[in-house]
Subunit: 136 residues, 2 copies
Amino acid sequence: MSVAKEMLADYLHVVWNDGDVEACDRFLMPTYTIHHDPGDPWDGQTLTREAFKERIRVSRAPFPDQRFTIVAMLEDGIQVAVSWTWTGTFLADTPGFKATGKPVKTSGITIYSMSGDRITGHWQVTDRLGVFQQLR
Amino acid sequence: MSVAKEMLADYLHVVWNDGDVEACDRFLMPTYTIHHDPGDPWDGQTLTREAFKERIRVSRAPFPDQRFTIVAMLEDGIQVAVSWTWTGTFLADTPGFKATGKPVKTSGITIYSMSGDRITGHWQVTDRLGVFQQLR
């Protein structure tokens, strides 16, 4: 596995799955741009690393046991595309939805922009309708 | 632009935008596998070229003026990832929804599997919730 792919697999595991938010310091550039991510409250914004850490905390709160599983990765030296599936138990309320205590699953594809071995941002599409239908 | 990227740009333009369904003969392998495409009626199926042409006809019918616009492409020699935006006017009823005559837009990312210069299938995620909210 290439350095970039290994780093991204590590990032998803350590930061997003295990919730070690401070580990962002070794994965991200000082700013991170969310180029496109429909439904994400930070869609279109460029965040400082501290603001990005807050985004992770807020995103993980309703699904504290969430797990991203990588399906495939491809890279061209500038960007890395990652297809993934995701599961989590809906344990805390989120705006508009009361926690059900039930497992939820979805999938998405993320194209990460890289600068050397650090992430500078992403373009992402997730199956939001799949989640929406499971939350109701 | 590489041969694979050029071919995919051509495919999206000629087949999906302009509706020249018969042109599939020069873009696709004899069978096409929809590995993952939540909400697509053919999700998980392997289609003959004729069945795939029917999928295009059915998919295009509610939005006959639909346009995919490519945002970015990256490839690694085996797969090509394409991020895209999409617009179409909702002109014919689709199951569960009556045509509104209004423009709809969405976005998605598709990872195409290639065999030489032909497409063998895809893994795709689209922002279905975005569409759903515009159809109601």
